[in-house]
């Protein structure tokens, strides 16, 4: 027998919501944080000018975005040079990231069909990573397997060739740069929305009330609707 849950009408709910005080500055900071972390340089600049929200040096965002873009386009060597110009410590102190970048370089060489160059690269640059750190051996073997198959795009490890792998590497580099600049690597906005969904799930056990089901609109919907 379900215990009766408290029922809150739409009116009551909206009254409760209106009673909560929020600061404009907090919301602006959230937006700025989102724009900066995601790398929307021009938008961040304009937003700063229009809202007066404090914000970090845009040049560093531009630099970071250049690196991310380079990886997304498959220009890994260029990306590495840019990261090292930005902060030489990042790759020196992040062996996993460095390995993933080298791995991506190899993938790009294979994608371009430059097999001999790829073999050379694998031997000269990737193999030592496996020697330096045993934890990388498994992934290394997977990547080198690409070289073994005639048709790499149809082999068991073909997802390495996927564009999504580039995005994964790009994201990793982005996060490392953000950390080195003492920034949060994830924007706050998604966390807030997750918190909202969680809170609604929790409250569902105790009450009936209007939900926000579409995060993009934030519209209140009662169950009967």
């Amino acid at each position: 027998m379900a215990t009766s849950k408290k029922v809150i009408t739409r009116d009551e709910w909206e009254k409760k919501l209106n009673a909560v005080k929020l600061r404009k500055e907090d919301m602006n900071t959230l937006v700025m944080n989102f724009l900066v972390t995601e790398g929307f340089v021009e938008a961040a600049d304009k937003f700063q000018r229009e809202s007066g929200t404090k914000q970090i040096d845009l040049a560093t965002i531009t630099d970071r975005m250049a690196v991310k873009k380079a990886v997304q386009n498959g220009n890994v060597e260029d990306a590495i040079e840019k990261v090292n110009d930005l902060n030489p410590e990042i790759l020196d102190t992040n062996p996993e990231l460095f390995f993933h970048l080298q791995q991506q370089r190899l993938i790009e060489l294979i994608r371009q069909g430059k097999t001999e160059e790829a073999l050379e690269f694998a031997q000269e640059e990737l193999a030592p990573r496996g020697e330096e750190n045993q934890a990388f051996l498994q992934e290394l073997e997977k990547t080198v397997a690409l070289l073994v198959f005639e048709d790499a795009s149809n082999c068991p490890v073909k997802d390495l060739l996927d564009i999504s792998h580039r995005l994964k590497t790009a994201s990793e580099v982005n996060a490392a740069i953000l950390t080195s600049q003492s920034h949060e690597k994830d924007p706050k906005l998604p966390s807030l929305l997750k918190m909202l969904i969680w809170a609604q799930n929790q409250l569902d056990e105790k009450a009936v009330y209007p939900h926000i089901n579409d995060l993009s609109t934030g519209q209140l919907e009662t169950l009967s609707e």
Partner: protein
């Protein structure tokens, strides 16, 4: 897919072409054209960052002095930045690199960069200096000299994060003595450092590291720190143990550990102690350096403190640590050392901890650690073993008996000796299960052991000791004792001599036991003892015959015949083996022994067993019978 011929040529050319490329860029470093030089510097820098292998090969080429010249001779900012960055990378976490960089006289050159008007040059210089200061080879910084103190403070005061971080790094790595700590505190370093706590992530972390160094074992410094703004900064550090970044959590924990060990009175609150322990335990799961440092930090925190050890035990520390040790991946020596020391501390006073630990079947891991190439790890494992073995609970010994040890390293003699002694003690326990388990462990220890270990062991037990063990009231203990003896005399001929010590006391006892109609399992071990002895010299074989057929025999107490008729195939097998060794044709007295065996009905009995159900027995009997035929009798 390249054909085999081209792929092999590409592999062989890969090595030489990379070498050529490196030599090429190296030669361009010395170019007089600044554009070419700059490009070469950038190339070297980009090749070595993150790449230990390349650092080593460029080092061997002599790149460091070449880059150092570029740094000293140039006025161009870009060249300064690139060469400083390259040198910093050589020094990053790479001791050979640090040495090369210092040897090339780079240190003063980098210092000069700190006063540049170009921010990027300052950054590059500060970063590289910080890399050097993270190494033990960094030049000693004399805090006692006023100009050095002034310089240090100018670094700490800087707006530039890299520069203030350098100042903190110098303190963290160069401050060692109480006098230095005092001088720094008197100059107001604590007040300067705590400002960094509110700064950026890297400033915060640098500050925490330096704080720990300045406060360590210095109650005055600690009280000064705690007194700052009525304890506000102590609270800040405590808050940071919950920070989102693991390294910050770790460094703040280590700071608190230092404060706790120096002046525990500031930690009256049980809650703080408890959360410090649990935070460190969580950090143990971090795969990187933070996890390594957390292990050592934990061992330092709970050292000699029973209340904290209890807290850790209740927070499931033992299981967590053992799980990490069992993951099978290569753990950093510092982490291994820290984990074993933590276990050692946990087992030092609390019996529950010891039982918990020993029930987790960790002994193989512990034994491997006792043979680790790093001396600190071996020591930590040894202390752990010693503390854990203090337990007298019987359940524990069940695990002990499953050890298969192989102490081949000479350095382990000390450890091994301690372990053997302990087991011998346990073999005299009141509890038969304890005796049994201890003997089982010793039996494994003596398996294929070298003479040194056997001598070591025998010297502690001696003939009389063995007699007691073999004559133990419990049959299971007797069986283990005989199995132990079997392993002891196995191997080289010298080992057989043990049973002849004190007028053959041990051998007599074995014979006596065998004549007493023992249970099969005991008899098997006893016969194998005789088999091993009979594999020796003429004298040895004759001595075995004496035991088999002692004179005068009161009755026909021929246990050999009984054993050959046993239902246990292993017993039949062991008995046949003894016979094989007794009449092996290469020894002079074999013929006479064969006669005796025949007269006692042994050989005829074997003839009845040619179709023994057990294949192993059947084969052995055939061997005997063919030996028998060679003596001409049939």
């Amino acid at each position: 897919m390249p054909t085999s011929s081209s792929s092999s040529s590409s592999f062989s050319s890969a090595a030489s072409s990379s070498g050529n490329r490196q030599a090429d860029v190296f030669s361009r470093l010395a170019s007089s054209d600044p554009e070419v030089k700059l490009k070469a510097l950038r190339e070297v820098k980009n090749q070595i960052i993150g790449n230990r292998t390349k650092k080593l090969s460029f080092l061997k080429l002599g790149a460091v002095p070449a880059i150092a010249s570029a740094l000293s001779d140039s006025e161009c900012n870009s060249i300064l930045v690139q060469s400083a960055a390259a040198l910093g990378s050589f020094a990053c976490g790479f001791e050979a690199g640090v040495q090369a960089v210092l040897d090339a006289g780079v240190f003063p050159l980098l210092l000069r960069l700190l006063t540049s008007s170009d921010e990027k040059v300052v950054d590059a210089g500060a970063r590289s200096l910080r890399m050097i200061f993270q190494s033990n080879q960094a030049p000693k910084y004399d805090f006692l000299q006023e100009k050095n103190m002034k310089f240090l403070f100018s670094l700490l005061n800087s707006e530039n994060e890299n520069v203030s971080g350098l100042g903190a790094s110098i303190i963290a790595h160069a401050c060692g003595t109480t006098v230095q700590q005092q001088v720094l505190c008197d100059a107001g370093v604590l007040e300067k450092l705590v400002i960094l706590l509110d700064g950026s992530l890297s400033q915060r972390e640098a500050c925490l590291e330096s704080l720990a160094t300045v406060l360590k074992n210095n109650p005055e410094a600690v009280s000064r720190f705690v007194g700052l703004e009525a304890g506000r900064y102590l609270s800040s550090v405590t808050e940071l143990t919950k920070d989102r970044y693991p390294r910050t959590r770790l460094l703040s924990c280590l700071c608190l550990v230092v404060i706790y060990n120096t002046s525990p009175s500031y930690f009256l609150n049980m809650g703080t102690k408890s959360s410090l322990v649990t935070t460190l335990l969580e950090l143990l799961n971090d795969h990187g350096q933070s996890g390594d440092d957390a292990a050592l930090g934990l061992s330092s925190l709970i050292a000699e403190k029973e209340d904290l050890q209890k807290l850790a035990y209740e927070a499931n520390a033992i299981k967590n640590i053992v799980d990490i040790l069992k993951t099978g991946s290569e753990l950093h020596p510092k982490r291994l050392q820290g984990l074993f020391l933590s276990l050692a501390e946990l087992c030092s006073k609390l019996e529950d901890c010891r039982c918990s630990f020993l029930s987790l079947e960790m002994l193989d891991l512990l034994v491997n650690a006792l043979r680790h190439k790093n001396a600190d790890v071996r020591t930590a494992a040894c202390i752990c073993f010693r503390n854990a073995a203090r337990s007298v609970k019987v359940a524990v010994l069940g695990a002990l008996s499953n050890i298969v040890l192989d102490f081949s390293s000479p350095k382990s003699t000390f450890i091994e000796y301690g372990g053997i002694k302990q087991l011998i003690e346990l073999s005299k326990s009141m509890d038969p299960n304890a005796r049994c388990s201890a003997l089982r462990a010793l039996r494994n220890l003596m398996f294929l052991a070298d003479n040194k270990r056997k001598e070591l062991f025998y010297s502690e037990v001696k003939a009389q000791g063995f007699v007691s063990l073999i004559s133990d009231p419990e049959p299971t203990v007797q069986e283990q004792a005989l199995a132990l003896l079997r392993n002891l005399v196995d191997g080289c001929i010298n080992s057989i001599e043990f049973v002849f010590d004190e007028d053959g006391l041990i051998l007599d006892t074995v014979g006596k036991q065998l004549r007493k109609s023992p249970q099969a399992h005991m008899a098997i071990q006893g016969m194998y003892v005789l088999t091993n002895v009979a594999s020796g010299t003429e004298l040895h074989k004759e001595a075995v015959m004496q035991q088999l057929f002692p004179q005068p025999q009161a009755e026909s107490n021929n246990f050999m015949l009984k054993f050959l008729q046993s239902h246990e195939s292993q017993l039949r097998s062991a008995t046949v083996w003894t016979i094989i060794n007794l009449i092996s044709p290469s020894s002079p007295g074999a013929h006479d022994r064969h006669v005796k065996l025949r007269d006692e009905g042994i050989i005829p009995q074997l003839k009845n067993m040619v179709n023994d159900a057990c294949l192993d027995v059947k084969i052995r009997i055939r061997t005997v019978l063919s030996q028998s035929m060679s003596f001409g009798d049939n």
